[in-house]
């Protein structure tokens, strides 16, 4: 198991956005979290990645080869350092930095050089910087963005920006990649490419993947297990084909047009 969430609860004032949700992800799995708008999916994500401090419950995570540790309530940067990397629903790149620099920033949490190193540019710092550039280029190559390396991130086409977010997340060396609506705003062709990319990353990079998605065809096609949330509560979970048939889910979310 790489992620184990138990009875996670998050209150905003009087509103309970996430209500005692249990969820786990095994090594190498692709798991999706779905639900209607306002069901609490993104809040759940934000609790896991440390953007919000959960009100109650427990979150444990750890590399497949290591023990699971509690990461509940840690600051976001520490959770990333622990090995969970995320993308955002509304793309959050560093718009004026180049594509290469965006990925280099992702490497940052694995670097060790300090202020004195920066000022004196000692051999160790220089070597580290060279290595960062190399590693970043390799990641860009994997994602297929190496031709854009010197371009400012904001000049990229939409689909490429989404992929750059994934590249940047990969640069942090995660064991679990959390994707918040990765296909939002993509056309069918781009979505197909994305599905391929996610599968490839899971296989080649030894990753587990956890995604929130609205695009039903993508979810059914890609994920191995699905959790369904509604009004902050978990209402169903299981294999895509089972979830699809679950009357509770259909009632809450899928509607006739999708199940048909």
């Amino acid at each position: 198991m790489v992620l184990d969430v138990q009875k996670l609860t998050m209150d905003f004032g009087g509103l309970r956005a996430v209500d005692h949700v249990d969820l786990h992800i095994k090594h190498g799995e692709i798991v999706a979290l779905i639900g209607p708008n306002g069901a609490g999916k993104t809040t759940f994500f934000n609790c896991v990645t440390g953007m919000y401090k959960p009100t109650g419950g427990e979150i444990g995570a750890g590399r497949p080869e290591a023990e699971i540790q509690s990461i509940k309530g840690l600051r976001p940067h520490l959770i990333t350092k622990h090995g969970l990397a995320r993308t955002f629903q509304n793309i959050r790149l560093f718009p004026e930095m180049t594509v290469l620099e965006n990925v280099m920033l992702g490497r940052d949490c694995r670097l060790t050089s300090g202020i004195l190193g920066a000022i004196f540019r000692n051999p160790r710092t220089r070597a580290e910087e060279e290595q960062v550039v190399k590693d970043s280029l390799v990641i860009l190559h994997k994602i297929g963005l190496e031709n854009w390396a010197n371009e400012a991130a904001m000049n990229l086409p939409y689909g490429a920006q989404r992929r750059l977010e994934i590249a940047r997340a990969l640069a942090t060396e995660p064991f679990l990649l959390l994707l918040d609506e990765p296909a939002a705003g993509m056309n069918p062709h781009e979505t197909r490419q994305l599905v391929e990319l996610i599968r490839r990353l899971r296989d080649e990079e030894n990753l587990s993947i956890f995604l929130i998605e609205h695009d039903m065809s993508l979810v059914m096609n890609l994920s191995e297990r699905i959790y369904v949330m509604d009004y902050g509560k978990l209402i169903a979970s299981g294999k895509p084909e089972d979830v699809k048939k679950d009357p509770v889910v259909i009632k809450a979310y899928l509607g006739e047009d999708v199940s048909a």
Partner: protein, 300 residues
């Protein structure tokens, strides 16, 4: 009268004045998220205009009540005009730039107005005329309150009540609340946001000018620099109460006024400013958004 009541009264006096200035800070911040560094200068200009007018009217032989009303009202109108013009010149053109630009512009405005008054008038302290008449019936009260203090308390109370009514119950008040929450949405719903912002500056400037006139007639002297320190103190009060919140500004002002007064009265008057900043530090550590401020959760 015992010493304790005296200290409380003095604290309430300060608090009232801080509240009158802090209102402008907090209203402007609430609506355009700008720390209007030049707000203290409006207060100073209000006091100066009142002094000039009162002196001229005295020379022309008007009686005290007429001077009080004419000088007071014209000075308040003038300060509002300054506030309105300041917004149009220095803040409106950069409303969409980064917030630091607006702050620097405000700092520039503050320097400009201070030196404008210094050069056009004087850098010396001027004696401020006693435009507030003596109210003989005040001595009948159990606590001895000076007529200036009485004027300060009653004006502050009236302003607070009027402002609350304005914001809660009038159409303008609704527009203000709407614009402070979401300017684009307010615009789409037909609120004239530019007008609302101008009005905010006008109201804030008017209350600051009122504060300037009242405190000057209480302390009896002014110079071009009085706006700076008062502005900083009122800003501290607004932050203390939770910047952007009107009741917060009032509460913060009284907390600050009383703290200073008690610090000066019972410990040492040399450190009165130090107490102000200690209380600010303590409250901001315990409640970073201020006493009545709301913490914000950023949507991701």
């Amino acid at each position: 009268m015992n010493y304790f009541t005296e200290v409380v009264l003095s604290g309430l006096t300060r608090g009232s004045i801080y509240a009158l200035i802090a209102l402008g800070y907090t209203m402007v911040y609430g609506i355009i998220e700008l720390i209007n560094f030049a707000h203290g200068e409006i207060y100073m200009i209000g006091a100066f205009t009142a002094l000039i007018l009162a002196s001229v009217l005295t020379i022309f032989g008007f009686n005290t009540i007429a001077i009080l009303f004419l000088a007071g009202i014209i000075a308040i109108v003038y300060s509002s005009m300054y506030g309105y013009t300041m917004e149009k010149v220095a803040y409106k053109p950069i409303r969409n730039s980064q917030r630091l630009s607006a702050l620097i512009s405000a700092i520039g405005m503050s320097m400009f107005l201070q030196n404008y008054v210094r050069i056009a008038q004087t850098s010396d302290f001027l004696p401020f005329p006693r435009i507030i008449p003596r109210f003989p019936w005040l001595s009948a009260l159990p606590v001895s309150m000076s007529s200036s203090q009485f004027m300060i308390f009653s004006s502050t109370a009236v302003v607070m009540v009027l402002l609350t009514l304005l914001i809660k119950f009038t159409k303008i008040g609704k527009s203000m609340r709407a614009a402070s929450q979401d300017k684009i949405m307010a615009k789409l719903l037909g609120v004239n946001v530019n007008k609302v912002i101008s009005l905010t500056f006008i109201i804030g400037s008017a209350t600051a000018a009122l504060g300037g006139i009242l405190i000057s007639s209480y302390t009896g002297q002014i110079n071009f620099y009085i706006g700076f320190l008062a502005g900083i103190k009122a800003f501290v009060a607004a932050v203390l109460g939770g910047i952007g919140s009107i009741p917060g500004a009032v509460l913060g002002s009284f907390v600050l006024g009383l703290t200073e007064s008690f610090g000066a009265g019972y410990i040492s008057s040399d450190y009165e400013d130090v107490f102000a900043f200690i209380i600010l530090a303590v409250i901001l550590i315990v409640k970073p958004a201020g006493i009545l401020g709301k913490g914000q959760i950023e949507k991701v």
